[in-house]
Amino acid sequence: MADRDAFDSEAGSLGASPDAVQFRFREDDMAGDATVTVDAFLAQSDASAVRIEPGDDTRELLPHLARLTLVEVNFPSFGDGRGYSAARILREEGYRGELRAVGDIGVDQLSHMRRCGFDAFAPERPLGEADAERALATWDNVYQHAVDTKLGAWRTIAQKRHGAGA
């Protein structure tokens, strides 16, 4: 993961509270705001944190991205992959605040979640740190575009094959 610099940081150390964030890959201070549901968020004007559930339409948040500092995406079950699309959409639309995966998250989901733009993880069962570190370092290269390649830190295999102009 050596050339993941702009998206990576040394800040990914074990966190404790709030919300039992175990891994965080951001330099800024953790937002301590209580998160609210998407419906509640859309109904009030001052909240700066929101929690997306699998059935929510992430795009409803797009007009309000500027005031958001924390978006939690809940995975009630790791097999429900809607949150991966939610994360990518937010990043594709320019959201740069904390994007935190919460819920049923295992070490084997971490690398894909990172690629989709998550930069904080609050698993409901704490993960083995060595296993998580190994899982995050699984891939030296990636085939397809995702949030990481779009932020400029990473390039796809095809881009590497065809040089700078590709």
Partner: protein, 542 residues
């Protein structure tokens, strides 16, 4: 054919190490079976009735002799000396030990193979026309597009936990030899005003609720192919049903929304993704195409001595017209009379590999009908090839006949099955062969599934058989009139089901109706379409 570079190899090697670590954690108890299951499934490892089954990916059904030799060696070393070719042009080992799985994956990686995404709710191995790059009737070789999509879909971070499994087929001929419209996404490479592009069909499938995919986009320019596929998948990932496993395939979403509304949502997402920019550089497609250039064909005889009637029959049934008129594609039938459809021994695999090297520019294909193709055989070499095949028990001249059945593993192996498929297939081929009826019936696609999940494609059979459980007894439903080809249609059930003996009688009866009523060169399917279900029902239940 496609060869890995260091990047492709590193991806597969990384996956072997990852799975070795996951297996270690399962064996030491730090992963529960529930947690391990989706991970082993992503690597093609299923827990079946009696043992683990490992499914190996054969991308778009193409492989070389070195790879097939490795598959044969694995069959001997880690299985019981057999492998089973599948309807996704893959290979399954039915008797694998969990502790050996990482070693098998490591052996596969040495020959640029893997079991990645051969199961689980992700994008599965992409299938294609088994005569790709050889068929006289193709527009272009569809495999470069399949390879581009293979790379895009491998370890896709957004689409690894889809509502359900996802299957893509790519063809480039009007004739559909890949059941393209019975896929989640079927892509036909087409030409429009001198430009090559992709036609998208979305929402087909078999299973409990068979559906034929509607066309949702007539022409996607090639430099937007991956972007369009990504849009199709994203709409599915966000809105596909997750409340009911049996309604989770994309066909249900497309059906419930309506093709028009689904298409509208895809187009919206497509417009967004075009702005994001997810398409690989165009040079990548050109690089891939470089691996699929024509072998150095040479002129030679266009005819061969057909005085041996057995050889003449094999020639007629098991060869296909090649784009070079001094060559043919030759089909090696894995449907010997009374055999297990799609099975090959380690020894047979090594022999087929040797023949591919000698006679077919080192290339083989797996057909979705569970046979093997040598795509480029000189017509002059056919007698020698046939003799070698025949000596090895691989010379059956029954392609597309009633003996060339697709049958799922059924209750002999599968934990989902309600009824056995293999013994039924064996008995039917023995019976029709003994009666000398196979040839008279001509093209007749019989497909057998041992449960409603339809792995044996019974919905698409000219004759389909579905095994069900009827008060604890195996029972078989008969259906007629399906096709997976360009004249795609779904078979209709004839009426009440039959016992095992009864369904064999029933197949006999419907074929008799065909022989009596057939006009001219009609196939069974044509006669059925002309005269309808009634005469067949009458013969069965009248």
């Amino acid at each position: 054919m496609y060869r890995y570079d260091n990047y492709d190899q590193a991806m597969v090697d990384a996956r072997v190490e990852e799975f070795r670590d996951q297996t270690r954690r399962r064996l030491d108890g730090s992963l529960s079976e529930d947690q391990f299951k989706p991970l082993r499934l992503m690597n093609g490892l299923y827990l079946q009735l009696h043992a683990y089954m490992l499914r190996v990916a054969i991308p778009y059904g193409t492989l070389n002799s070195r790879q097939l030799i490795a598959l044969g060696d694995i069959a001997d070393k880690y299985d019981r000396g057999y492998g089973h070719f599948t309807t996704r042009q893959n290979l399954q080992y039915n008797w694998v030990k969990l502790a050996n799985a990482p070693e098998i994956l490591a052996d596969l990686a040495k020959v640029e193979m893997h079991a990645i995404q051969t199961s689980g709710n992700c994008i599965r191995n992409i299938s294609s026309d088994h005569f790709a790059g050889a068929a006289a009737d193709e527009l272009v070789d569809p495999r470069p597009y399949a390879e581009l999509l293979r790379q895009w879909s491998s370890f896709h971070p957004e689409f690894t936990y889809l509502p359900r499994k996802f299957k893509i087929a790519v063809i480039a001929a009007e004739k559909d030899r890949a059941a393209m419209r019975l896929h989640d996404i079927g892509i036909q490479i087409v030409e429009r005003d001198g430009e090559i592009g992709a036609r998208f069909f979305v929402g087909g499938g078999m299973g409990r609720t068979p559906m034929i995919a509607p066309m949702i986009r007539e022409f996607v320019p090639l430099d937007q192919l991956v972007t369009y596929a990504e849009a199709c998948l994203r709409v599915y990932n966000r809105y596909g049903r997750r409340d009911n496993k049996y309604k989770a395939r994309i066909k249900i979403l497309v059906h419930e929304l309506g093709a028009e509304e689904y298409t509208r949502q895809v187009e919206e997402e497509f417009a967004h993704l075009l702005k994001v920019g997810v398409e690989p550089p165009r040079e990548e497609l050109e690089r891939i195409k470089g691996f699929f250039t024509e072998p150095p064909f040479e002129d030679g005889p266009k005819q061969v001595d057909r005085s041996d009637p057995d050889f003449a029959l094999w020639l007629r049934n098991n060869t296909h017209r090649h784009k070079h008129d001094c060559y043919v594609s030759a089909v090696i039938s894995l449907k010997p009379v009374g055999g297990i459809p799609g099975d090959a021994s380690g020894e047979q695999m090594r022999l087929m590999a040797r023949l591919a090297k000698e006679y077919s520019f080192d290339e083989l294909r797996i057909m979705h009908t569970q046979n093997v193709v040598l795509p480029h055989v000189r017509i002059a070499d056919l007698p020698a090839l046939w003799t070698a095949l025949d000596e090895a028990g691989l010379g059956a001249s029954n392609m597309d006949t009633i003996e060339d059945m697709i049958a799922c593993p059924g209750l002999d192996y599968c934990s989902l099955a309600n009824a056995r498929s293999i013994p039924l297939a064996q008995r039917i081929s023995e019976r029709f062969d003994a009666a000398g009826k196979t040839e008279k019936l001509g093209e007749l696609k019989l497909k057998i599934s041992g449960c409603i999940n339809a792995c044996g494609h019974h919905h698409a059979g000219h004759i389909g058989i579905l095994g069900v459980d009827r008060k604890g007894v195996e029972n078989y439903q008969l259906s007629l009139g399906g096709s997976e080809a360009e004249d795609v249609s779904l078979a209709k059930i004839t009426g009440p089901g039959f016992t095992e003996d009864g369904v064999i009688e029933a197949v006999e009866k419907v074929t008799d109706v065909y022989l009596e009523r057939k006009e001219g060169e009609e196939r069974f399917l044509d006669t059925y379409r002309r005269i309808g279900m009634e005469p067949f029902k009458e013969a069965l239940y009248g």
